[in-house]
Each structure stands twice: as structure tokens, then as C-alpha cells.
Amino acid sequence: VSDHREPNLRALAARDPAAHARVRDATPLAGATVAAATGVPTLEVGGVLLHSRHDPAGEATRWAATQRGRLDAGADTAVVLGLGLGYHVEALAAVWPGRLVVVEPDADLLATALAARDLRPLLERIELAPDPLGPDTIDGWGRVVVAPHGPSLLRAGEGLRSLKERITGRTALRDLRLRILVISPLTGGSYPLTGYCARALAELGHAVTVLDTSPFASALGGIGGFTPKKAVQKAIGEAFANFLGTGVLAAVEHHDPDLVLGMAQAPLSGAVLRELGRRGTVRAMWFVEDHRLFGYWKDVIAEYDHFFTVQAGEFLAEASRSTAGRVAYLPCAADPAVHRPFPLCAEERVELGAPVSFLGAGYHNRRIAFRSLLDLGLKLWGTQWKGAGQLESAVQRGGARITTDDMVRIFNATDVNLNLHSSTYVDGVDPRGDFVNPRTFELAACGAFQLVDERALLPPLLRPGVEVATFRDAAELRPLVEHYLAHPDERAAMAAAGRARVLAEHTYRHRMEALLEAVCARDADRLRARTRGETVADVAHACGNTPLGHFLGELSPGMPFSLDGVAKGLLGRPGRLSDPEAIMLFLRELDGMYVEEHRT
């Protein structure tokens, strides 16, 4: 087999410098290329044969013929997943005159192909998708037909499969405007996330309703008042859960969502989820919890179409085994509209500021780890600090609950914000700690400096030592705090870098986009079938060149057309209302005053 590497690389350098840079230093897979019966090279990697051992070109022609039919149905770009040695791409190029993109994240495999065959004509014809593959690139492809190269997917496994999901999900999502019902938990740490997610989903152009179940939190807390008998309390609790389930179903009946997104601990029982499934509603859960502490996921996961977790690794595998639905890793995030740098007046600095502070519940490990900081001006904010001994003297506002508003102020007013992930049994830093809590992202988004305990999943999200400062164990905490107190410049640089990274990659908008892409990758057809009635675009078209037509033309085209949907969000927007906007607002008000109650 002759070495085509150098001429191929030169051709690639001229055509696509970025791809060239990626392949230049890659190593061709050793001993993978073998000769097929027809004399041309074929490829076997990790026990997977990527092209026929007899006639790679003939096989490729048959493959291309099957893809051709799908492309003819209307596409701007054919996206081939997996390059292999390129036979199938050449065959497709022969029958498809349009734009042709190849996704191949494995640089070593690219290098192998470039060494094995003269790919110069092909490299002229195709584009190699950049790695990492950004959303803008996918959007630039227009209408996409994904042509997966089966053997490549088989070999590459999760990496290429998740790229496939991203591409199909994102392109399907483009035409879908969904009705989404976000269901909050009654209380707890994930409650505020409900609003953040809902806002992000609405920003992405979907019709979002929040089912806020917090009004029922105190009722749940009051069950113990009926009787001290645990068994009876349990029965009452079940009745209460049924009551909430009935309410959830009523809300679903009323809003008729395409997608129900439950936040962790939302009152969604197996029975309720099954009923949602019968209605054809797509069911998703963002399980923003530690699966080791909250085992209830096992009871309900099988009823979800999509289950998103903040933990990866073994848990993903275990969760995937428990459901036919899709399980995916979706780390926490921040909401830049809430978590932001905040100018404080002098009085606020006095009350809310401190050299060192921690905001959160007084879990066991925090009570142990923070003792060493008592003489550094430590302030503790939040609940459950009773009985924390000496630390109680640092507790602010008598251990009252802190509002989100004040939280942001406190983060901003503190020199060194501590962030120690909770543990009920470890004395300091949990050595098995994996997921990254919302506080990490919220602090970073505030542009506040934080010292966070090392977590297995942190480095890919925020680079330790660059975008966030970390500590390994309780013993390290005091010297690090002293160091950073003495080096305000380091603090400022790290805080700024952390904030930039969060804004670029870790907002709820990013997460909800990823979540919807994952949902659509699997359920786009089901969701498309549900979108009934006219869209805003249909009505805009029907209105033609009129003020109403122009107004509707500016709205999300795929949104189902409804008075509510159109009028929603007009108020409180800066700038003058146009006539069509004001008339829609008028009709909406009239509807609210006289019509709504007559609607069944």
C-alpha cells in the first residue's frame, strides 16, 4: 500500500487548515489497513470491519443508493457520520450534487484514511465537520439528512452516536415550537431551578408554563400534625401524593403540553407518568440530586422517556439499564439574569460582606471543615446550623432562609466564597464526590471568587486553578483561604475567567438547548405529529402584506398560533407597542375579562 499521507495532507492544508491541524500530529492506527479481494485497501479496527473485505466500492455504491432516496426528499446538506476510508462518501458524492459534510471526530482514524488512499479529489468535494462541533456549524447546514455509516458508529460507540443525536436533535428542533409544562418540586434545592429552566426554554422560543407546586409544601410538612404514628402518616402521605397527581393531570389536561419537564422531586408518580405516556406527552426529568442520597429515582425512571442526571460514569450506566428511555448527563448551570455581578452600597457590604463566607445548609461535613476558619472573619448563611457548636457564633440572621436576591448580594460581597459539596457522613471533602452543585456555577456567574472542593466532574466544566480555585481536603482549606485573602489579584483573575466560561457554556439556556436536542433526537417525529393546528407562520402567510402579517412575521414561526401565545410577553417589553401589538393586547384583555370563564 503506497503512502498517500503527504499529498493528502497538503491538499487538506489548502482546503481546511483547521482539519489539517487536527490530523497533522495524529498517529495512523497501526496494522488496521488490509487489502480487500478487489485489491483496494479496507479497514478493520477493534474487531469491526469498516468496509467490505471483498468489494468496498461496490458496497459503497449500494449504501449511497439507499441514502439518495432520503436526500431527494429535500435537503440542503448530507451529513455522513464516519469517514472510514471514504468509499461510501465517494459513492454518495457521485449521486448527490449538494453539500456534503463528513463528521469524523477520531483524528487517528482520519490519519489512517489519509495514509491509505489518495483522497485528494474527495477532500476537494467534501467538508470535514469541525471538532468540537458547535451549534452554529449545525445551524449553517440548513436542512440536513444524516447518513450514518453503520460500521463507523459500531466502532466509535458513544462519541459518534452522541454527535448523531446532537445533529438530528438540533436540526429537528429548528422546526419545532413546543408547549412545555415545567413542574416544580414542592420545596428543596432544585425549586429555584424550575424558574431558571422555564425562562431559558421560553427564550428558546417555546410556549412554557410552570406548574408551581410550592403552595403545597407546608401542607406536606403538616402531615405529621395529624398523628405521630408513622404508618398512618405514610398512608396520609400517599393520599396527598394522589391528590397532587390529580392536580398535575388536571394541569396537563388544561395546557396539553407536548413535553412535561419535571424538576427533581416534582410530584410525578409512576401512575401519573404512565397516564402522561398514554396521552402521548413526552416525559422528561432533570434529576438534580445525588442518586446515592435520593433513591426514589429507581421507582420512576422506567416511566420517563428522558432522564437527565448531574452524575455521570457508573450511575449513567446503571440508570440506563433501568429504563427503555434515554439517560443523559446534564450538569447544573447558572442563570445570568439572576446570578450576576451586583454593585453594593456601603451598608450592604457591612451586613452581607465578609472575608470568608459560606451560604448553604449546615451539613455534617461543613460543620467539621469550616471550624478552622472561625478567626478569619467567617460568616455562615442559611439554615440547619443549630447545634454546630462554636460555628454557631458565625451564623448570620439567626439561621434564617436566605432569598436568592440576598444570596447574589452575599456572593458579590464576599472575598472568598466557600463551596463545599454536602455530605452527611464524610468529615470534610467527599472523596467519591462527582457531580458539581449549582452553587459552583452561580458563584462563577456572579463573578465571585470561590474555593470549591475537588469533584470528579469539575475539570471539564471549570478548569481548576484557572477558572475556579479548588481544595482537596479540610486540612488544605485554611492555608488556601489565607493565601487567597492575601492575593486579591489572583482572586479577581480567576473569578473573571470563571464568569466568562459560565456565560459561554454553562447557562440554563445552554442546558435547555442540550436537553431539547436530546429529546428531539429521539422523539422529533412524535413531537412533530403532535403539533396541531396552525402555526404563527401559517397565519402570518395568510395575512400577507398587512401590519398584522408583518407583526406575526417577527414572531417564532413554528409557534402554535393562539391569542395568548401571541400576546404573551408584549407587556413589560421596552420600546413602543406597534398597532398590531396593542390590538392583540386589547383582544387578550377582552378575552381575560369576558371570554376565558366560558371556555371549557
Partner: protein
Amino acid sequence: VSAVRRILVVNLTRFGDLLQTSPVIVGLRAQHPGARITALVPRNFVDVAEGLPAVDDVRPFDFDGLARLLLAGKSADIRAAYAIVEGLVAELRAERFDLAVNYSSSRMSAVLLGLVGATDTRGWTMTPDGHRLITHPWSRVFSGSCLHRRQQPFNLVDYYKRAAGVVGGPQRLFFDVPAAARARAAELLAAEGAPEGTPLVALQLAASREVRRWPTASFVALGRALHERLGARMVLIGGGGDRPYAEEVAAALGPMAIDVCGRTSIAELGAVLERSRVLVTGDTGPMHMAVAVGTPVVSLFFGPALPFDTGPYGADHLCLHADVPCAPCGHSVTCLDPFCRDTIAPEAVAEAVVARSTGDWAALEAAADRFPAVRWYRTGFDAEGLFDLERLGSAPIDRREQLRRVYRAVWKHALDGTLPQLRGPRLEREAATLRALVPLAAEGGARAAVVENLARRATDLVALEDAARRVEESAAELYRFGAMHEPAAFLVQVFRFDKENIAGDGVAEIARATRVLHEELARRARLLADLLDPPAVAPRAVPAGGGYDARPS
């Protein structure tokens, strides 16, 4: 000569409210003789609007049609509804109104007025960026009074008049009964064996809500008493939906009753009332119709109804108000035990009708003392031409009544410059509350002055932002104070509306207006306090010899 050529009056509420705009329209006509007056009203009240003198052009607004389209809800229906509103707005804009007066306090009407964009709009309207604007101080006091009705100082019609800039104006309502309606009513009554000259007392049996309806048993007892004492027959009036009550009362009264309920148009109802000696009614549309056609009214107020705000706008009508501690109920509550309805005894009402039909005011004074569970009021007008209620009987003025009267004096002073003249019990507790409000308001004014100065110097933006926040903190404290102290609530509420409606270019100007509002609030609070609990020496705020009279009686 008035420069106002075209006037739009919008009233999208009920037919009673529409009748209550009649004095404004007549007043506007007198003040702008050359102007063309257009009334925009719901289509089903067009015949009411056509009976209003001085209206040149009645523009019906098809609410029901629009509502049907929205209920159908298909995009074609919504587009059709859109086209109707678009057409209406275009028509109204083409009129180029110099003055628009909106008497519907709803966001919906505010949006419409914003769209119409008259040169001068009074009442609720909308800013170009979609925020509600209440453009006239009288409209803001009215909006505030709706939230603090216990202190309701003025009749709705007076708010209407003042907001439209009508000074003085007629002290009655108007409705021209068309000849055809008069003839048809005569036929109807004749067919029931009541030719011209038969003594009739009209009874309006129903009301918009159950809690506002006097019980049918009470009406039956009243009918029997009146038949016995006046030899009168009872004309049962009402709409088609009120038939069950009419049937019940008619069955009980037999030939004493003439049941025309549901058998008349609104104009014919006017004609029937014209033929009646007295109307007995709750706070209803027909009550205003009776006033408009010149028939004396004995009106019963209970539940959410108050004689102060919607009492019969004319002289020498009677209002009987159930004197229960919880009156009036809030509009949004559903009372499960409306005992106030039964507080008004049929005997008391019979006494009122008999004495009123003969104009025997001495008898009414005596009756008021005989039935003390009810407050008896005679309607009339004060020296400034504002509707007023004169309490009948010898009961002394209580705290609640005095607070209301003091508020009336303060608003008259604040909005019209009328010097307060008042007697009544001394209310030290309430005065102390108002005095505690004064420094809070002054502090807010001082903080606004800081913003004003910083903005004029245009220097430190951070300091400016900080100072502006301190003003908002002051306002929040004032709102909290208002929420906590009933005697101050109304004052603070109007301050809040005033503040929300500050318009201006630039921070300095807005800050100046904010400062003035705070100073005004402080002055008003001080005046309220001094009127509730007059100091030994008359305060300097009021010029000597200005008729200030706040001594306790």
C-alpha cells in the same frame, strides 16, 4: 371659545354607569358648545346612549360579537376579531379627537384609548410602551377610592365630571324617553288594568349578584304595606333573567302587582319609571334610570354597595344603608352569610316610601331614629356642587363617618383648593397615625431632592443610582405604612398612583416631580391629621380668615 372640537366619551361597562355619564356629557356640551360628542358604548346599550341628551354620535362596540369570535378561537376568528378592532381604531383615529374621556377602569379600555391617541385623554390609558397611565388627578383619587371604599368621599358622577374638566354641571342624570317607548309602556300598564293616574310604586327585585339582592319575602311584605297605606300597585321591573323573582313576588301579591319584568326595553323601562311615584331598588341600573327620568328613589344599600360612591345622583332621594360593621364587602369576596340584607326591614322601607312620596322630611327624620339599624341619608349637593349625603335622624357622627368626611375635605382641598370646613368628633388615634406618616413622606422628599441635585450636576452615576434606590426604599416604606394603617391607606394609595404616573424627560425632572409628590403627601397627611384632631392653634398651612374651621363640636 373652546378649542375642543371633537370629544370621545368611552364607557364600556354597564347601563347604569352609562346613565351616570349623562351629566358629564351635558356639562361638556355646555362648556364646548361647538364640539361634536361621540359616545363609544357596548352595542346592547345603544338605546341608552341614544337617550342621552347632547350625544351627537353613538358608536356601538360589539363586545358580544368579539367575545364570540374569541371563544371560537380559530385563527380565522381571531383575525376577524382583529379586523373589527383595527377598523374601530381607524375610524376613531380619523375623528382626531381633541379630548377623550375614558370611564371604564380596565386595562382593556386603557389599551384602546392608547390606540386612539386623542390629544388629551382623561382616565385610564396606555403609554406608548404599554404601561397603564391614569392621566387626571381626579381619576387617580377615584382609582384609589375603589381600593379604600370605606373612605369613599365622592360620588362616581363627580369623579366623572371633574376628570372631564366639567365645572359645576347639572346635578342630575338624564335620559330622554322616546315617545314610542312612552306609548308602549302606557299600553303595557293599561293592559294590566293601570290606566294613567293609577298610583304606582316600582320595585326592582333583582341585582347583578345574589348578595346585592334584597330578599323577595321583604319585597312581598313591603308591597302589602304600601298597597294598604298608599293604595298603590307595585310595578315589578327587571330583565328577562329576573323572571323567577318577579313570578314569586307576583304570585304572593296577586292583583296588587303589575308584572312587567322582562317585558320592556331599557327605554320602555324608563317610561314605566316615569309613571311611578317612587322606585324601591338596590344599587342597580334602574335606580339611575329613575333618577334620570325624575322619579324619586328609595334605594337600599347593603353588601358591597355604598351610597357614597354610586348613590342616586340628584337631590332628595333616599338611601337606606345597612349599618353593619363589615360593610361594604370587598368586590372580590363571596359572603356566605349576607345578614346585612335582612338588617333593612320592610317596615322601615315602607315608612321611607310613604313619607318620601308625600315629601314629609320631618317624618323621615323621625323614622330614621325609629329604625337605627339602618343609616338614613337624604341626597343633595354641597356648596361646591358636589354630591353629598345628609344623615337623617339624631345619631351622632361616628369615627368611621368622620374619617370619611375628613378625607372628603382633604381631597377637595388637594384637588380643587377648597378650604376645609368641618365639625365632628376628635379622632386622636387616627390623627397620630397620619402624623407618623409626615416624617416618612418628608424623608422621601429629601431623598428625591438628592437625586434631583445629583442629576442636575450629572456627575457620579454610581452615587445617582444609589440615591435613586434610596428613594425607592422610601416609597416601599410608605407603601408598607399604608398597608399597615387603615387611616393612611387611601392617601398612600393615591400617592402611589401619582408616582406611577409621573411623566417626564430626564432623571432630574422625574426626581423633581417625585420630590413634589412626597412634599404633597406630607402636607396632605398633616392636613388630615389636623382635621381629625385639630391643634389648639390653626395651622399655618391655611391662610387666616380662610374659613378654616376644624374645632371639635
